[in-house]
Amino acid sequence: MRLHLSFGILGADRMPLSFAEVQAKARLIEDAGFSGIWSGHHLPVPGDTARTLPDPLPGLLIAASATRSVELGTCIYCLGLVNAGNFAQSAYTLEAFAPGRLTFGVGTGSQKQEWDIAGLDWSKRFTRLEESMRFVKSMFSGESAIEVEELTFGDSHKKYARQRPPEIGEPTLAQKIGSPRFLLGTWRSPRQLHRAATSYDGWLASAGPGTLEGGWKKVFTDSMSIFRDAGGTRALVSTMLLDHEAPTRPLPEDGAFELICGPEAITERLGILDELGFDDVILSPWDSERTKGRQLTPDLLAELRSLYPADESNIFTTAAAAPAS
């Protein structure tokens, strides 16, 4: 099971890092032997201090500029909230800068207010996500979703149009660059897990609140079974809170999965995830008030990396291993 780290352009004090600091942070993570660098995504809400996260894509761009081979990803990007064409544009632009290294975990997002203030219908989020992903994929396949183009210049009262067939046969920029990998972020919906297995490059599970729906043991076990039975090849779990210096918190099977415990217990708990069949785990270290101000250092990263044996299997070319028995 590969270990990855969550990543952002904010420092431990929640203030923005400089460009050089972001680069250095990315380089430290790669040098420590982690397999990937991942960023989350939420859109801001006016006046809501807790919801002014940065756009994850420039951070990944800077990380790409400072690293050689580490995987770069989102966990998750709320695709349904944005223009799918523009998301595809950002995705192929990043893919061009770091060929083969991008993995976009996408999902509906879990915050209704982000949909409400954008004038989008929360109850239709799954449909919109599916339509958006279809559009994104058509960008990379080159299949024209629009048969007739109308060009309009100037104000609407002075518009004129010309029609032309789509440019069949000429590859677009997205086609030339090629598609990054896409993962579907979902908790336990059988339909979504089936989509993750059949229409995406993998499933991105959350260690967060979804596991409260019956607890991590039941949710992870049932979901993994559905995903693998449907032919799913790569299963990742993200939002895995970690604090190896905090007093050990128990891990009840009917609660959330977390790594807030001593190093030995962390190793043991990671072994549980491995046995459940996860191929990758994305760690979110020190996400607590107690450790505010904690900086990533080479020693700390080495300590974290040593919590579980390194897995050198190639993310980019190898299908995930079958679940451990």
């Binding site: 006016p46 209704k112 207010q113 629009i146 309009t152 210049f153 100037g154 609407s156």
Partner: protein
């Protein structure tokens, strides 16, 4: 009059530039003594090579990292109503975080109906949507809620009962407020209402240099529009985007046509002097090579400049080193 340059997108063989090459091109613009690096924006459509563009903000982010604060970075124009306004606000404050004060985000409705159709948006609603979006973006930077703030989580909460946050609790200052906004410019042709907005609500006006015969030609549109803009108190007028081709067939400049620099450098200098005499503070140029691009499609038609090209461009006008932050 300051000169900004469009960044090239492809190399001379028509291949998309990688990150290092983009950084190099931005450095070349700065080294030539030009004032800014700019890019346009279109939302791609599956299968349509003529609409191919990379994400301009990621290109500008790379450019910011590779150059000094002397070089302004901007969009001309970024199609705001096609996007989620809060997505754009987030992109803006993230850019400001990376390189404070460098960005001028030229915004507009976009001119392509097909991009609205593809996004399931109503083309006829674009100006209302533009106004609404800008209000949302300003609210992010003002840090003021537009209504109750609530948490409603499908796993933690009953979807019907949001947890409303107590407005009396001080939750600190949103990051967007701490970072502050970039400069915003409004891209508009000759609509009096839009010019008023550009003068009173934005930091600059991005005029289009391409109003053709259907609007009365460049001289009428640009001279009338800049007068209206200045009369309303507008401070910075930017002419974008003027195509430059020193090498291809000469195209005479007709008052009732499009403004371009399809002519040798000496004549190009005279043409730019006309723009300057109209009162423009900045012109944004895009080098093209019509002959080389003939028969090519999409991005392959674009031209990759050389240092010598940029020197020629620099020589068209005396240097104007007014600080773009001040205008």
């Amino acid at each position: 009059m300051r000169i900004g340059m469009w960044l090239p997108l492809v190399d001379s063989g028509g291949a998309l530039l990688d990150g290092h090459a983009i950084a190099k091109r931005a450095q070349m613009i700065e080294a030539a003594g030009l004032n800014g690096a700019w890019l346009g924006d279109h939302t791609p459509i599956p299968g349509d090579v003529d609409r191919d563009l990379p994400d301009p903000l990621l290109y500008l982010a790379i450019s910011a990292l590779a150059t000094s604060p002397a070089l302004e970075l901007g969009t001309c124009v970024y199609s705001l109503p096609l996007r989620n306004k809060y997505d754009v606000a987030q992109r803006c404050y993230t850019l400001e975080t990376i390189a404070k004060g460098r960005f001028t985000i030229g915004l507009g409705t976009g001119s392509q109906k097909v991009e609205y159709d593809a996004a399931g948006l109503d083309w006829d609603d674009r100006f209302r949507r533009m106004t609404d979006h800008m209000a949302g973006i300003r609210a992010i930077f003002a840090g003021k809620p537009l209504g109750p703030l609530y948490r409603q989580h499908p796993a933690l909460d009953d979807p019907g009962t949001p947890v409303v946050l107590d407005p009396a609790v001080d939750r600190g200052t949103p990051w967007a407020v701490q970072v502050g906004p970039p400069r915003f410019a409004l891209g508009s042709w000759h609509s009096p209402r839009q010019l008023r907005r550009a003068a009173t609500e934005y930091d600059a006006w991005l005029a289009s240099a391409s109003p053709g015969a259907q609007f009365g030609g460049w001289r009428k549109v640009l001279s009338e529009s800049i007068k209206a803009y200045r009369d309303l108190g507008g401070k910075r007028a930017v002419a974008a985007t003027v195509a430059v081709d020193f090498w291809g067939p000469h195209v005479p400049l007709k008052d009732d046509g499009v403004f371009n620099l399809f002519c040798p450098p000496t004549e190009a200098a005279e043409r730019l002097a006309m723009l300057e005499s109209l009162g423009f503070d900045d012109v944004i140029l895009a080098l093209v090579n019509r002959s080389a691009g003939q028969g090519r499609k999409g991005l392959a038609r674009r031209y990759d400049f050389t240092a010598a090209d940029l020197e020629q461009v620099r020589a068209l006008l005396p240097r104007d080193d007014r600080d773009y932050h001040d205008v």
